[in-house]
């Protein structure tokens, strides 16, 4: 009568759901990082559209996930399954990612940019050699929030056919099986923590030691 026991009794099923869950999160992260970091970089150079894009991200973020899954499921060509799940989760990742990239770039000390310009760096050199590396701590904070968020919301994708840990939770609720619910929730949390830990290690590698004092580490 404990969730640990439940996992041991259903290893095959739990393992399948866990792997499905991780692979969905990984695919979503892959597309989100490419797409939203690029968008963040672009709007950091075009202030006029930045406000609109960031507001759009925030509005989408406020829509309940279950309705978003439902809506996209009914779009022809998407339907039940991974394609819709990926799309919806990528949309959810927009707000934290675009925002953190934009804020990170904009928070770079203007006198440092000025120095770069004064030394003869071009606009793109300033972006990639000064702004991006200096924005890393903030961008990583955004990525880590996104990871936790996506791992959690991914459970909802069970309603459109994803066989992931959300299914354990969902079925646990319908059957009144608390161990099943706890097993699902605990594994989801562990996945989020593990990815967050890995991200933390990557962050340490990528962020210049010259910036760590600023991030308070």
């Amino acid at each position: 009568m404990n969730f640990y026991g439940f996992i041991l009794d259903n290893t095959g099923l739990v393992l399948e759901y866990t792997l499905n869950h991780i692979s969905l999160v990984a695919v979503v992260l892959f597309f989100s990082l490419i797409l939203w970091i690029a968008v963040g970089l672009v709007i950091s150079r075009y202030d006029r559209i930045a406000g609109t894009i960031i507001s759009l991200g925030s509005i989408v973020f406020c829509i309940p996930s279950i309705s978003l899954f439902g809506f996209f499921m009914s779009v022809p060509g998407l339907g039940l399954g991974r394609r819709t799940a990926t799309l919806v989760l990528v949309i959810y990742a927009m707000m934290p990612l675009v925002r953190s990239v934009y804020m990170g770039i904009k928070s770079v000390d203007p006198s440092v940019i000025d120095a770069g310009k004064g030394m003869g760096m071009t606009g793109l050199q300033i972006l990639f050699k000064i702004q991006v590396p200096m924005a890393w701590p903030m961008v990583f904070a955004g990525i880590r929030v996104t990871v936790v968020l996506i791992t959690g919301i991914a459970t909802m994708a069970t309603f459109i056919g994803e066989k992931n840990l959300g299914r354990l939770i969902h079925q646990g609720i319908t059957r009144g099986n608390a161990d099943m619910i706890i097993a699902g929730a605990v594994i989801v949390s562990l996945i989020a923590l593990a990815i967050d830990y890995i991200m933390g290690r990557i962050e340490k590698k990528i962020t210049s030691p010259g910036l760590r004092f600023e991030a308070g580490k």
């Binding site: 440092v112 770069g116 004064g118 010259g210």
Partner: protein, 324 residues
């Protein structure tokens, strides 16, 4: 070398121009110092030279070429720039900061590295000690030295220095000034130097440009400005010790009464006290120390004349017009 012709700049939204009717030349190998109160437009003038700010009107020529026709990034790589806020790249090591412009110019790695080590040494930093540190690990004075080294890295013929020794205490500032003047004796770079400290201006400048409210109020060598200030503003800027500042820039030899022939005895002169090339200020100091009102002036170890308190007083009265 640098010719600035009647430039004007009004920032968007400002009522009056930040810089107006500014015209000056900087000769090759000279330090031209821009001095004036905070907000008078010094930084704006400097930044128009490397096109960080575009003038609304007027022309700027470097070696006869109109800067407005050059590619801004290319232009800036040939002009060393020490910015007022220092602006070191916090995510790069000190070595990498100094190597910035050589990197942009695609110097070979070995050449860059050698140059960086040489420069750190030159500005008085130990490459082995600070080279691998990050900017936040340095003191204010050390960061300013790095800022100067970074501007010098690609050996640009022209330097723009905006309060390069601003963020340090007076003692360190004097040391940095002395070191820089010593370097300049061999560099012979053409330098535009901004400060709001009149003493620094007089010390560093071959030529002074005094700016107030966006306009030039006076130009000239330090001694010209000291001896004939254009108006009350310049007079106030020079301070109450204008006479002493003049004596600091006057050589003892120029005020002495020279001997027709070397005297047989040095009665009352106490031998060689000051050198003819030393400032009169030193001679005064020696008079006070020896409790005498005259000193012997020498060239090498040969006595060539005598400098008296009365002739110093007469000189001050003559040039500053304060006396009877």
């Amino acid at each position: 070398m640098i010719r600035v012709d009647n430039i004007k700049k009004t920032f968007p939204g400002a009522n009056s121009p930040a810089v107006d009717q500014v015209t000056f030349n900087v000769n090759e190998g000279n330090i031209c110092v821009f001095v004036g109160p905070s907000g008078c437009g010094k930084t704006t003038i400097l930044r128009m030279i490397n096109r960080l700010i575009e003038p609304d009107q007027g022309d700027i020529f470097i070696n006869g070429k109109d800067v407005l026709e050059m590619n801004p990034a290319t232009l800036r790589r040939t002009i060393g720039y020490v910015i007022q806020q220092i602006g070191l790249l916090p995510h790069r090591t000190i070595e990498a900061n100094v190597a910035l412009v050589p990197g942009l110019l695609k110097w070979p790695r070995d050449k860059t590295r050698q140059r960086v080590l040489e420069l750190l040494e030159m500005v008085g930093l130990r490459p082995g000690e600070v080279g691998h540190k990050y900017p936040h690990q340095l003191s204010g004075g050390q960061m300013q030295r790095v800022g100067v080294a970074r501007a010098l890295a690609a050996d640009p013929p022209i330097m723009l220095m905006d309060e390069p020794f601003g963020a340090v205490d007076p003692i360190v500032r004097i040391r940095l000034q002395d070191e820089f003047l010593r370097l300049q004796q061999t560099f012979k770079k053409t330098i535009c130097f901004v400060t709001h400290d009149i003493n620094e201006a007089i010390k560093m400048g071959d030529y002074l440009v005094i700016v107030n409210q966006g306009r030039i109020v006076q130009m000239g060598t330090p001694i010209e400005v000291l001896t004939s200030p254009a108006d009350d503003f310049v007079l106030r800027l020079l301070g109450d010790d204008r006479g002493v500042k003049i004596l600091d820039l006057t050589r003892s030899g120029s005020l002495m009464e020279s001997f027709q022939a070397p005297p047989k005895t040095s009665a009352g002169i106490n031998g060689c006290i000051v050198q003819a090339i030393q400032p009169v200020k030193i001679a005064l100091e020696m008079m006070m120390k020896n409790n005498s009102d005259q000193v012997g002036v020498c060239s090498g170890d040969k006595i060539v004349g005598i400098l008296t308190w009365n002739s110093i007083k007469a000189h001050i009265n003559r040039v500053s017009g304060d006396g009877p």
